[in-house]
């Protein structure tokens, strides 16, 4: 089985009086097992000519077993601080949050709901990847 690792580091010398230096490393394994996640969409890049509303980025129908331990990565490639991508969950498009230029997200995904995005401007680009198990 493949071995895929994800590591996050959050650091700040001045966010509080106690310097933040948080690191977490995990091996991406299937649900309830030590076997690595086996499949991926690859790293995809999309440029939208016009601003999007509820663009379906990840379709739940492709990940129908909701016990799984899939992972999703999304990045707003804009270099503008004012351009943002809104991440929405499910048919009601419940808003999760905004990725401003250069921001990224890494989240678990179980295929219960679609992941949609809105883009705030024309000609915005994003990257995304799903790492999943069959």
């Amino acid at each position: 089985m493949p071995t895929t690792t994800a590591q996050i580091t959050l650091s700040s010398a001045d966010l509080t009086g106690d310097a933040l230096q948080l690191t977490s490393l995990t091996t991406l394994t299937g649900h309830a097992s030590n076997s690595g996640l086996t499949h991926t969409t690859g790293v995809n890049r999309i440029t939208f000519a016009s601003a999007q509303t509820a663009y379906k980025l990840v379709a739940a129908s492709a990940y129908s077993d909701t016990t799984k331990a899939h992972k999703v990565y999304i990045k707003n490639l804009s270099t503008s601080n004012s351009e943002f991508v809104t991440i929405e969950i499910g048919s009601s498009n419940t808003i999760l949050g905004r990725l401003y230029g250069g921001d990224w997200a890494f989240l678990p995904y179980d295929g219960t709901n679609d992941i949609d995005i809105d883009t705030s401007a024309n000609a915005m680009s994003i990257e995304y990847m799903v790492i999943y198990e069959q």
Binding site: V43, T86, I89, G97, L107, T112, M129
Partner: protein, 153 residues
């Protein structure tokens, strides 16, 4: 203003024939500006009592708390501290009546198995259904622990 940096690396030599080596570093700024996020809650560690018979829902980020904003650039980090691959927490966005409620209104995102983490943007939205960030313990899951951090403006 504070300078906070977030770095994510995803690496695999054998997930496909093309080795994966993805790395991103970003200063965490407030919405629409190049000024760093200035406020923080955590790093916190929380015990989730759970229940032998029912799922239970616990609030990590409370959209009703006026210190948070809807149109900001807040970020939420959550880690399942379990060392067991069989123990998981379901992450949801929505609302619950109180910590430990058996039901919630909202949408399910995914499962954090033991050792897994997430890092997501968050809008403290109160329109329609609240956008609280919740974690749900499955039935017969007792005393799981999470760490979380909310960085906001």
């Amino acid at each position: 203003m504070a300078t906070t940096t977030a770095t994510l690396s995803i690496v695999s030599a054998d997930l496909t024939s093309d080795a994966l080596s993805l790395s991103n570093t970003k200063n965490l700024n407030a919405a629409g500006v190049a000024t760093g996020l200035s406020q923080v809650e955590g790093v916190a560690r929380k015990r989730l009592p759970g229940n032998a018979s029912n799922t239970k829902n616990y609030i990590i980020a409370n959209a009703s708390d006026s210190k948070f904003s809807e149109n900001g650039a807040a970020k939420v980090y959550i880690k399942n501290l379990s060392t067991s691959n069989a123990e998981y927490l379901v992450v949801c966005v929505g609302t619950v009546g109180s910590d430990g409620a058996t039901t919630f209104s909202g949408q399910e995102l995914g499962r954090l198995y033991g050792g897994d983490f997430l890092f997501i943007p968050w809008s403290a939205r109160l329109t329609s259904t609240n956008s609280d960030i919740l974690v749900q313990t499955p039935a017969n899951s007792l005393n799981q622990e999470v760490e979380y951090l909310i960085i906001f403006e």
